[in-house]
């Protein structure tokens, strides 16, 4: 259950972040700024494309079907460096 909760937290964090950038910020840009429309378009497109990219990588690693194949020395190094 911990895993699912962590997954959900990460996902909601990123979604809210990009939603703020893509939807909220364009709405609060004051009218009199010269390139307002351009900035709104840029923010929206940035958030959509960056969010999609992050989401694809995230979803792909959700349920991996294969695992990494490590060389022995690498595996030993991992045990020592990352897991102790």
């Amino acid at each position: 259950m911990g895993a699912a909760f962590a997954t959900f937290c990460i996902w909601i964090l990123m979604t809210v972040f990009w939603a703020l950038i893509g939807v909220a910020v364009p709405l609060i840009i004051p009218e009199k700024i010269e390139n307002r429309r351009l900035i709104q378009t840029m923010l929206l497109l940035t958030s959509v494309s960056c969010y999609t990219f992050w989401l694809c990588i995230f979803l792909m690693q959700l349920n991996p079907l294969i695992g990494p194949e490590l060389e022995i020395r690498t595996a030993q190094a991992i045990v020592e460096e990352w897991q102790s």
């Binding site: 494309s49 960056c50 022995i72």
Partner: protein
């Protein structure tokens, strides 16, 4: 909105009073928003009205170039580079003043030049004479000593100073008798390289009866005309007799030797030498003064030079433009394209011009209805200009269709970054472009002529965004100069039992494979990006390839659907609901249904399958092809899959005849009964809405042309007389010409209605569009796989460079050889990174991202059949002086 579509343009007729014409056109040049049309296309350039003024301006330019050349000869005088443009129209009388000024300056400079030449020639002659006098005294002294010897033999007494020429007898020294043979002398200066030939010719011609002595002049002398330094030598020829003397003189002429009179007596020579030296000193003083005067004149000219160039170019361009006008006695008229929103600005400029010229008659702007396609004017600032350029490179957008530029600002760097994907390289790119942006004012002022650098500079904002997005995708791909960053801790853990057996392995090439059942159970995925363990895994590519291919397809389908949606916006703007029903909806169903289903399957498979049922996970590509072949899937993604797929396939197939037949059929039926099709349509030319009332066409005979002749206009507005003048409105669009809406209304509507209805052509066009779209869907989706291919290539190159170059430098165990080897290895690695990975791969990814935009994205909605708006603008002319 002027951002998503080009500006609305209108064709206007401009009437200017003759006195005010020059100033008004000048003001138009300053604001640069009007494109004039040539009203006299079949008139020769030499027969136009203002050809004399243009000629004068060209003369002035020639003078300016001459002055510039003279200034450049003096290397220490600087021509100021950045002269701020005063944004002022030079007054017409300034042309005369400037002309006189330039003429005076040119004459003065030419006079100075010729004086200087003359002085230098004199100086050269005097110098040569001095040399002659100096050297020949040696010859005479030698001859004296010979004489002394001879005299001693003959027992004669000779006073010092008696010239050789008094000796009776020959120069050979023997004295025989009292002959009064006089020896002639010719002295002069000849170029050193010609001396040998000169001597030989003399010997042959005079049969050895002349005596030549020569001595080199050590310092080189300057040739006055060319400025080269020449090596010369002094020579003196002794001969007997007049005939020989003439021959010698002719030979000297032939060899272009300069002859100087040389007095025989030493005392005379000394006097002459003193005189010559005094004159040389005087001449030097005069020469110096001339040079300094010339430098002063040039310096004062150089300070004004850029300003004069600008003024002359502006004046010339104004007269060129005036040549486009149709000239009559009291006024000049022209047709011009104007963006509608700028009409107040233009009106104000016209008023300013008229008042500057002191004329009381205001200029008149009146709209001309037309069916022509107006030019496309996309207003850009320094940021959007780069992006608009790459869009226009493929094709200028048709009038008022959706401009892909605002979207390209982000999608282009994003797709580039998906292919480039390395945060280290992205950082370098962003820093480089950031530097260019920071120093942009200085770089613009420097006016560099280096084309390649200016190309990079022009795209600085584009490169900056590309770099920033690359940093983002690099972090997500977890690729920093081919190394991964472990920020959040890898989610893959080696289980305890496997870890215990690790020590037992002896052969280092063995591998252990982690099973997600043991190593990834109950874990959340790596929160931001790719898990760092994959970088060190042997089967990294198996995992990544599958992912990147799926990502490419997802991004591709999204991009293409976006393009189709933009076409919907075009259809609604141009009020063509037929296109929405007959083209947009089947396109969306086809693309979204078939390829959207593929995207759905990709995402569904990510959720539905994990290590527990990985054995039964179907391969998507096989599933997709099976769907088209209507065969039942071996492994199902979800229950009911077969039915769903059949439905989607049938819908997709049904879309093809829908796209092919509906629109031509409806158009044909409309052609048959026109009365049933009264609808509002949008007029292309004015953007205003008119009812497509065909019965209006019968009202005015010339309405079909859309262009009202000048006589018509004159009659309507009474401009012929000078007492009846119409003052312009602030919004010239609603002009005093009452004919406009009526005639313009006829211009609206489908082009097909006005022309011959060719069913065959429409059918063929529709067939081409349908085939292009349907086949294009498949091929374009596959084309987006280049996103995968290039990012794979980039990652592999980066890794190869690291493991083959950098690792060598880092692989030494002890400090000592390592510290010497690492710097050069790092240098090699850095140079290769810049050259191969940044420049070559960067260019490659740029090109592919550009292709994806131009072909795959824009073919869904873009027509690109417009022509660019080229206003009369001083800014453009002043910066590109070579164009006429």
């Amino acid at each position: 909105m002027a951002l998503f579509r080009c500006e609305e343009m209108a064709l206007y007729q401009l009437f200017l009073q003759s006195e005010a014409a020059y100033n008004c056109v000048g003001e138009m040049g300053e604001i640069g928003l009007v494109q004039f049309r040539d009203m006299n296309p079949d008139v020769n350039a030499f027969q136009r009205k203002f050809v004399n003024e243009v000629r004068r301006c060209e003369e002035m330019e020639r003078k300016l170039r001459f002055i510039e050349k003279e200034v450049k000869k003096e290397a220490h005088i600087n021509i100021p580079n950045n002269v701020p443009d005063l944004k002022q129209v030079p007054a017409a009388r300034e042309m005369n003043e400037l002309d006189n000024q330039l003429e005076k300056l040119e004459n003065e400079l030419r006079e100075l030049l010729s004086n200087q030449e003359q002085l230098q020639k004199n100086f050269l002659e005097l110098t040569e004479l001095k040399q002659v006098l100096l050297r020949t005294s040696i010859f005479f002294q030698e001859a004296d000593s010979t004489r002394f010897a001879a005299a001693a033999r003959d027992d004669r007494e000779h006073e010092e100073g008696e010239a050789l020429l008094d000796v009776e007898g020959g120069a050979s020294g023997g004295v025989a008798g009292g002959g009064t043979n006089k020896l002639g002398v010719v002295a002069g200066v000849i170029k050193r390289e010609l001396l040998g030939a000169f001597e030989r010719v003399l010997w042959r011609v005079c049969r050895g009866n002349v005596f030549l002595k020569h001595a080199d002049i050590e310092e080189p002398l300057t040739d006055p005309t060319t400025g080269d330094s020449l090596l010369k030598c002094v020579f003196i020829v002794f001969f007997q007799g007049e005939q020989l003397g003439n021959r010698v003189k002719k030979i000297c002429e032939g060899f272009r030797a300069t002859l100087y009179p040389c007095p025989e007596q030493t005392a005379e020579r000394r006097e002459m030498l003193k005189g010559v030296e005094a004159r040389i000193a005087d001449l030097q003083v005069v020469l110096d003064q001339t040079l300094s005067h010339r430098t002063r004149v040039l310096e004062s000219a150089a300070a004004n030079l850029p300003l004069w160039f600008v003024k002359v170019r502006k004046i010339k361009s104004i007269y060129h433009t005036l040549n486009l006008f149709q000239v009559s006695q009291k006024y000049l008229q022209v047709q011009c394209w104007i963006p509608i929103t700028d009409i107040p600005k233009i009106q104000a400029a016209l008023d300013k011009g008229t008042s500057d010229a002191g004329s009381s008659v205001p200029s008149v702007l009146s709209q001309v209805p037309t069916k022509e396609q107006p030019p496309t004017f996309n207003r850009t600032n320094k940021f959007t200009e780069g992006f608009q350029t790459i869009i226009d490179a493929y094709g200028v957008s048709s009038y008022r269709e959706m401009n892909p530029m605002p979207f390209t600002v982000i999608t282009f760097p994003f797709l580039f970054a998906v292919m480039f994907g390395d945060c280290g390289h992205g950082l370098i790119m962003a820093l480089f472009a950031g530097l260019l942006i920071w120093k942009e004012k200085d770089i613009i002022a420097a006016k560099s002529k280096n084309e390649i650098f200016m190309m990079f500079f022009g795209g600085r904002y584009l490169i900056f965004l590309m770099g920033v997005f690359s940093i983002y995708t690099g972090i997500l791909y977890n690729d920093l100069f081919s190394k991964s960053m472990n920020i959040f801790g890898s989610q893959w853990a080696i289980p305890q039992d496997v870890a215990k057996t690790l020590a037992g392995y002896s052969d280092n090439t063995d591998t252990v494979e982690l099973d997600p059942k043991d190593s990834f159970k109950d874990k959340a995925p790596y929160p931001f990006g790719l898990d760092p363990i994959w970088q060190v895994a042997d089967n990294k590519l198996d995992f990544l390839n599958s992912f990147k291919m799926k990502l490419s397809v997802i991004l591709g389908v999204m991009h293409m659907l976006f393009g189709v949606v933009l076409s919907l916006l075009n259809h609604t703007y141009f009020r063509k609901p037929l296109n929405v029903i007959a083209e947009f909806i089947p396109q969306v169903l086809f693309l979204g249904g078939l390829f959207g289903y593929l995207v759905f399957m990709i995402i569904y498979k990510w959720f539905a399958f994990d290590y527990t049922n990985s054995a039964s996970a179907p391969q998507l590509l096989i599933t997709f092809t099976d769907m088209f072949m209507l065969s039942a899937p071996d492994d199902e993604l979800y229950s009911g899959q077969y039915t769903v797929q059949v439905i989607i396939l049938l819908v997709g197939v049904a879309c093809v005849p829908w796209m092919l037949f509906v629109k031509p059929t409806v158009l044909y039926m409309r052609h048959r009964n026109p009365a049933a099709t009264q609808r509002k349509t949008r007029d292309l030319s004015t953007g205003l809405t008119f009812k497509n009332l065909n019965n209006l066409a019968g009202d005015d005979g010339e309405g079909t042309e859309g262009l009202i002749s000048n006589d018509e206009l004159d009659r309507e507005n009474g401009i012929g007389g000078d007492d009846h003048v119409i003052s312009p409105d602030t919004h010239g669009a609603h002009s005093s010409n009452g004919n406009a809406p009526g005639a313009g209304g006829h211009g609206g509507g489908h082009g097909d209605d006005d022309e011959e209805f060719d069913f065959g052509q429409i059918m063929i066009l529709q067939a081409i569009h349908t085939i292009e779209f349907c086949l294009g869907c498949i091929s374009h989706t596959a084309s987006y796989l280049r996103l995968w291919a290039l990012s794979l290539a980039h990652a592999e190159l980066s890794e190869v460079l690291w493991s083959m170059v950098m690792s060598i430098g880092l692989s030494y165990d002890s400090v000592f050889p390592g510290i010497l080897i690492l710097p050069p290895i790092f240098a090699a690695w850095a140079v290769l990174t810049l050259a191969i990975l940044l420049l070559m791969e960067g260019l490659s990814a740029f090109l592919h991202a550009l292709r994806l935009h131009w072909v795959e994205f824009q073919s869904k909605f873009y027509h690109g059949e417009g022509h660019l708006f080229t206003p009369f603008s001083f800014k453009h002319i002043v910066e590109n002086p070579l164009e006429d």
